[in-house]
Assembly symmetry: C2
Homo-oligomer: 233 residues x 2
DNA sequence: CAGTGGTCTAGACCACCGG
DNA sequence: CGGTGGTCTAGACCACTGC
C-alpha cells in the first residue's frame, strides 16, 4: 500500500506533475482541494500547499481562493536566464579574459538614452566604449552610459584595474533592471571592432539598471557572431 | 515601538531587502540566524524562513546549513521571460493574427536536427514552414520539425483550423525545453518571406521541446526586423 | 559534534470571491 | 454566505556540513 511512502512536498509535487503529464488531470480541469490531497497523500495541508504553490509559481497550475486549483490551460512557460558577468562567463569556458577601453568621455546622451535613464536635462554623463575579449578574440562590444550624476564616484574610477562592468557590480547594489534582446546587422564600425563582416547578424542585449529609484546605467552589448544565449525550462 | 507592526513573510522580506539595499548588511556578510530574526521581527521562525527562502531563490541571499545565511556577493541576477504563444502575443497588441503554411512534408532532418530530437535513425519526419502575421504583416517565420514518430497523431492534424504551434500546445503536454537566442542576417529566402532587406539583422529563437523522455519538436523562429524580447528583473 | 537551515505537523484565523 | 487557498504559529525532528 501507500503507507510507507516518503512524504515531503517534493514527493507531492512529483506526483502532481505525473498526474498532469499523464493527463489524469487535464488542462483546465479542477483538481481536489488541498485538504483532500493532504488526506490522500497522508501529509499536512501545509505540505500540499507548499507543493502546489510551487507548481502555480511555475505556471503549471492556476489557483484562486474559493474557485480552487486548475491545471493551467496554457502552461505559462517561463524560462530563466542568468545575467552574464562577462569575465566569469569567459573564464568559465577556460578562456582568458581581457578588455580594452576605446573611448571614455563625458557626452550628452541622445534622447532615447536620456529617456531610459530618466534624465530630464540634457547634461553630459559618462560614456564608454569597451571591447571584451576571450583569448584575445573579440567577444562582446559594450557601449555604456553611466548616470554619473547619480554615481559621481564613477568619474574617479580606474577602469584599467577593474572593468566598468565589474566596477559597477562592486560599487552599486543593483536593484533591478530591464532587458531587451534583438538582432542587428553589423555596421562598418562594429564589424571593424568585432573583426567580422559588415552586415553579419549579431545578437544585441540592451540593459537598463536601477538602484532605489534611480536609473544607474544603460548598456548595449553587441556579441560576436555565433554567440548564443542558452536557457532551459 | 515595533509592537504593533503587521507581521508577514512579505514584511520580513521587504525589511531584509531594505537592509541589503542600504548596505546595513553588506555583500558577503553573514546575517543573523532565523531564530534571532524571528525574535526580532516578533514572528515565528517558519515565517522568517519563508521570507529568506524567497530571497535565496531570487539570488539575493546564499544559505547553507550550519554556515548560515550571507548576502550574495554577485547577486545572481536572473531574468524570466514567458514563452510567447504567438497568437496571444499578437492579439494582445490588438492586432489581427493570421498564418500561412508554406510547406508541409515528410523529410529527413539534417544531422543537427536529428541530434536535437535524439533520433538515431535517418527517418523522414514532419517538416513545416509557416509564416505568422499580425494585421497581415509578416511577424515571425517558423521552421518546425515534429517528431512524428513520437506524436503520430500529428500526421492527421488539420493545421488550417489550428496553427501547428497551438495544435501542439493543446495535444501534447510539454514538459520542458531548451531555448537559444541568437542574431542572424536575413537570407534571400527569409527576406522574401518576411518582406525585409536581404542581410537585415533578425532575432532568432530556437526551441526544443520535451515530453516525458521524448523530444517532441524543434522549432526555429525568425522574427521580423525590429522585434524585441523584453523582460525585467 | 553541534549549529544551522529545511521540512513537517496540527491547528488556527483570515482574505478573497464565486454562487 | 461559505468554501477555498494564503498565511501564521509553536513545536518538533532531521540533514547537512563547518569546526
Amino acid at each position: 500500500m501507500t503507507e510507507d511512502e516518503r512524504k515531503s512536498w517534493l514527493t507531492v509535487q512529483d506526483e502532481v506533475r505525473r498526474l498532469i503529464r499523464q493527463r489524469d488531470w487535464k488542462p483546465g480541469e479542477l483538481i481536489p482541494h488541498e485538504a483532500d490531497l493532504a488526506r490522500e497523500f497522508g501529509c499536512a495541508r501545509a505540505t500540499v500547499n507548499r507543493a502546489l504553490r510551487g507548481l502555480a509559481d511555475a505556471g503549471l497550475l492556476e489557483r484562486r481562493r474559493k474557485a480552487g486549483t486548475r491545471v493551467a490551460l496554457n502552461p505559462v512557460r517561463r524560462a530563466e536566464f542568468s545575467i552574464p558577468i562577462i569575465r566569469e562567463e569567459i573564464e568559465g569556458k577556460g578562456q582568458r579574459f581581457g578588455y580594452r577601453i576605446f573611448l571614455r568621455e563625458m557626452r550628452v546622451p541622445p534622447p532615447d538614452v536620456q529617456a531610459r535613464l530618466q534624465l530630464n536635462v540634457a547634461q553630459p554623463i559618462l560614456y564608454l566604449k569597451t571591447l571584451y575579449t576571450a583569448d584575445s578574440r573579440p567577444y562582446v562590444f559594450e557601449e555604456r552610459w553611466i548616470n554619473s550624476i547619480a554615481v559621481p564616484d564613477v568619474l574617479d574610477a580606474d577602469f584599467e584595474v577593474l572593468s566598468p562592468n565589474e566596477w559597477l557590480v562592486r560599487e552599486v547594489a543593483f536593484d533591478g533592471g530591464d532587458f531587451t534582446f534583438s538582432g542587428v546587422a553589423a555596421t562598418a564600425e562594429e564589424a571593424a571592432i568585432l573583426t567580422c563582416r559588415v552586415g553579419e547578424g549579431l545578437l544585441v542585449l540592451e540593459r537598463t539598471t536601477r538602484h532605489g529609484g534611480l536609473m544607474i546605467t544603460y548598456v548595449r552589448l553587441l556579441f560576436h557572431p555565433g554567440y548564443q544565449i542558452h536557457t532551459r525550462c
